[in-house]
């Protein structure tokens, strides 16, 4: 009997290991032989651990599974039965391109990977010139999924055109934004996709070496990625002769050390070089003077992991999804106080309200939704009145926010928005790299100023507004420059949370 239990860390965090043990015990008692595959997560985190049992070639879901469900799952009498997983609404409504294999295959089986379209993109790319590869990425319209949305093909072109004996592909797997876990899920659930994407990037721009800078907070992802690199080397996907092409590309996994700012690309490069993770002034662009001063592509995990499907299915196929200048799919991460949280991949353009209320099912607490923070700790708190906004780079900008890494954190009406604004400043103070005064000192002042507002000092509100202006204008990177975004959006959209204390004091 073939059974799937995810080894994704969200599934583990919800008890997947205990469920596996219980399934083995129950199988022994029922006298059935189990073949347990540890897959990635399908992304329906509210159903994790989601056990799947293959019945007549169709995978049936049971979840959220607890150890005492094991016997009933195996004899198909469980009340947790969900029917065929592919028929679930959450699955049917998605456009799974980047995440096509996640939850489906055994993440560390190269055979599974190949059988589900893996390596087809790399093979196509190996038959092209570097310029053709870069052109394909341009045609796809792919933009950076790490936050800034810079066109990936243009970045690759710069590195392609740069000279020098050694160029690098650096994958930004620092994923420090609260409310985001797409990078983690793909690394744990389909690591070969990232490796293949990095290999295509390397072949395309002429870089023979790559690094994944992976945050230390993700021990499971580190383990899977290290294992995957070993397997890919043995399979000839990495090494001196990539898939027998005569072209070289190899890579290593490097572990971060708990600094949020190291997600910023130049800070990341310093960290990778063994220095303090201080942000570098641009120019020079990392594309020209990156790792060890050499031309370097720095891309987010999802940007790179999307490259294989672009080459497998065609750049135009990818570009045909989306809205405006946001082409392809967004890998939405729905989190926080939400009834159905998880990963949902869909074409850009879906509205914020549809994601939160329809897909997410509103708050987990059952109370009214108050705000959604979109795009991580530097993203805006969007009020319910902005729920018509379509999720796209320019569209979110117009709505006063940003899409960032496409994480959405839902808050119900018990949320204290002054407290959230204070936290944004506190976080910036803790994580500042220290290079610019408006960020390093301003964030500390920000916490103090918000505390004054909390104590009922209304005169501190214009001071906070001024401080945010100073941080926005005088910061070298987006940590200092965008911390005003959550602060000011909280103040603007939820003025009552900043006024009640004052009124109470009067």
């Amino acid at each position: 009997m073939k059974v799937y239990v995810p080894m994704d860390s969200a599934a583990k965090a919800l008890g997947a290991e205990d469920v596996v043990r219980a399934l083995r015990d129950a199988a022994a008692q029922q006298g059935v032989t189990l073949d347990i595959v540890r897959n990635g997560s399908r992304g329906m985190i509210w159903l994790e651990p989601l056990v799947e049992v293959e019945i007549d070639g169709v995978r049936h879901g049971f979840g959220p599974a607890a150890p005492d469900d094991a016997a009933a799952i195996l004899d198909n009498s469980s009340a947790k039965a969900l029917g065929p997983v592919e028929d679930l609404d959450w699955m049917k409504r998605q456009t799974r391109l980047t995440f096509a294999r996640v939850g489906v295959i055994d993440p560390l089986s190269m055979d599974d990977y190949r059988a589900h379209g893996g390596l087809a993109g790399l093979r196509r790319a190996l038959a092209m010139t570097g310029q053709d590869i870069v052109d394909q990425v341009k045609t796809s319209g792919l933009r950076g999924r790490g936050g800034a949305g810079f066109p990936t093909g243009i970045k690759w072109q710069t590195v392609h055109d740069a000279g020098g004996p050694q160029k690098y592909i650096v994958c930004n797997a620092d994923e420090g934004d609260s409310g985001t876990f797409a990078d983690r899920m793909i690394m744990e659930g389909d690591p070969f996709t990232l490796i293949e994407g990095m290999a295509i990037a390397g072949i395309g721009v002429g870089a023979t070496r790559g690094y994944v800078y992976l945050r230390s907070e993700y021990p499971d992802a580190i383990r899977v990625m290290n294992a995957a690199v070993e397997i890919a080397r043995k399979a000839g996907v990495l090494g001196a002769d990539v898939l027998g092409s005569g072209r070289a590309y190899d890579m290593e996994i490097r572990v971060g050390a708990g600094a949020y700012v190291c997600g910023e690309e130049t800070s990341l490069l310093n960290s990778l070089e063994g220095k303090r993770g201080v942000v570098r002034a641009k120019p020079p662009l990392p594309a020209l003077e990156g790792f060890l001063g050499r031309p370097t592509v720095v891309n987010n995990v999802i940007s790179l992991a999307t490259v294989p499907v672009i080459f497998e299915r065609g750049a135009q196929h990818y570009a045909d999804f989306g809205t405006g200048r946001s082409r392809g799919t967004a890998t939405l991460q729905i989190a926080g106080n939400v009834a159905r949280g998880g990963l949902f991949e869909t074409a850009f353009g879906i509205s914020l309200g549809e994601v939160v209320n329809d897909l997410g099912g509103g708050s987990a607490s059952g109370r009214p939704v108050k705000a959604v923070q979109v795009g991580g700790p530097l993203g805006a708190y969007m009020p319910v009145s902005s729920f018509d906004a379509p999720l796209g780079y320019e569209e979110m900008d117009k709505a006063g926010g940003l899409i960032g890494h496409a994480g959405l954190v839902v808050f119900d009406d018990s949320a204290d928005m002054l407290g959230m604004a204070r936290f944004a400043m506190e976080f910036c103070a803790v994580e500042s790299c220290g290079k610019c005064t408006p960020c390093r000192i301003g964030a500390v002042r920000g916490v103090e100023t918000i505390d004054r507002i909390r104590r009922g000092d209304g005169a501190a509100i214009p001071i906070l507004t001024d401080l945010c202006e100073t941080m926005k204008d005088g910061s070298l990177c987006a940590l200092g420059g965008l911390t005003p975004m959550p602060v000011m959006s909280a103040l603007t959209h939820f003025p009552d949370d900043f006024a009640t204390q004052k009124e109470a004091a009067e």
Partner: protein, 158 residues
């Protein structure tokens, strides 16, 4: 910085340094390896590292102190990381964190008197759809409530 500890094996330090010298940008992997071996980055390693990498003590100290992960003295037998970030806050993470600190009678980064648990803040574990989340050593736990936290602390011997 911690005083030199005679239990630290200098040959082991040298071996770890040697094993990383071929890397491009060896310092972070090297510090991780030292901390993995000793539980912290021992003061005795400073001299050999600065010599091997041709950097100053000030530079090395600057790097170690920049990163939240590296410690210059041992932690408790278990490290409990509690997520303080937004998605966890949205489902009661702050109250849970405060109650846990109060129960242990510790502030962040503190270690219980019996040396069993060090408690640290962490900003997101990527478990934001099953928050609040914590990590005990390398083991992740989601949807943590008071009962689950009590079980975690009991198991860790706090």
């Amino acid at each position: 910085m911690a005083l030199p500890d005679t239990a630290i094996d200098g040959a082991e330090i040298d071996r770890i340094i040697d094993a990383h010298m071929h890397l491009e940008g060896p310092l972070l992997p090297l510090l991780h390896a030292l901390q993995h071996a000793f539980g912290f980055v021992p003061a005795q390693a400073m001299g050999p590292i600065t010599a091997a990498l041709n950097i100053t003590r000030a530079e090395l100290h600057g790097v170690i102190s920049f990163y939240h992960d590296f410690r210059d003295k041992p932690a408790g037998r278990h490290v409990l990381k509690v997520c303080r970030a937004e998605a966890c806050q949205a489902v009661g993470g702050t109250a849970l964190a405060e109650a846990t600190l109060a129960k242990l009678g510790l502030d962040w980064h503190g270690t219980t008197a019996n040396g069993a648990v060090t408690i640290e803040p962490v900003y997101c574990l990527g478990l934001c759809a099953c928050a609040p989340a914590v990590m005990v050593d390398d083991r992740v736990v989601g949807r943590v409530d008071t009962a689950r936290m009590d079980a975690i602390l009991a198991e860790a011997g706090a």
